[in-house]
Amino acid sequence: AQSVSQHNHHVILSEAASLELGCNYSYGGTVNLFWYVQYPGQHLQLLLKYFSGDPLVKGIKGFEAEFIKSKFSFNLRKPSVQWSDTAEYFCAVNKYSASKIIFGSGTRLSIRP
């Protein structure tokens, strides 16, 4: 079955540590890839997106993600996390021209001040 996998359910880091959250998908063909973030008590919002071109995409708040087609991966990275990055992060995939997107199960990120 087509799916999106986020293997880390809960990640705990100290401030200034580097972050990498894994995301793998199982679709063939052309896909669009996204990371959404849900800060405590806030709406789910788009963090960054990849459609085509440069496989390294930059989003808001210093986040970036790299699309590696051969590995079916779209990992999220940040070189130095802050306490305010505490949130739940969802990877999502949309097959090209499809009318819906599929979300991963989410990774809860906790940052120790």
Binding site: H43, L44, N94, S99, G106
Partner: protein, 113 residues
């Protein structure tokens, strides 16, 4: 700014009751979506609509129905609520050809007792 509002933040209903969850968006978006969010399962699509009176089943439509009589409003209906429908329900909307860029409401946490 796109605004998606949901009628209630918290709702408590009894088993067997008919439950209506309302969602309104103010950006004239064609697409609207209903998801449920459960720990460890991420967001799962219940139903979506790409136009007034049009609807399509998502991944978990059983036990739910929807109504879209006006473009800005998308209702989720639980015909006979059950305890396994206790969850966070999220509504989202998007422009027709940008399904990937969804704007989410704050969510309704429904508890069925």
């Amino acid at each position: 700014d796109v605004k998606v509002t949901q009628s209630s933040r918290y709702l408590v209903k009894r088993t067997g009751e008919k439950v209506f969850l309302e969602c309104v968006q103010d950006m004239d978006h064609e697409n609207m979506f209903w998801y449920r969010q459960d720990p460890g399962l991420g967001l799962r699509l219940i139903y979506f609509s790409y136009d007034v009176k049009m609807k399509e089943k998502g991944d978990i439509p059983e036990g739910y129905s929807v109504s879209r009589e006006k473009k800005e409003r998308f209702s989720l209906i639980l015909e006979s609520a059950s305890t396994n429908q206790t969850s966070m329900y999220l509504c989202a909307s998007s422009v027709r050809d940008r399904t990937y860029e969804q704007y989410f409401g704050p969510g309704t946490r429904l508890t069925v007792t």
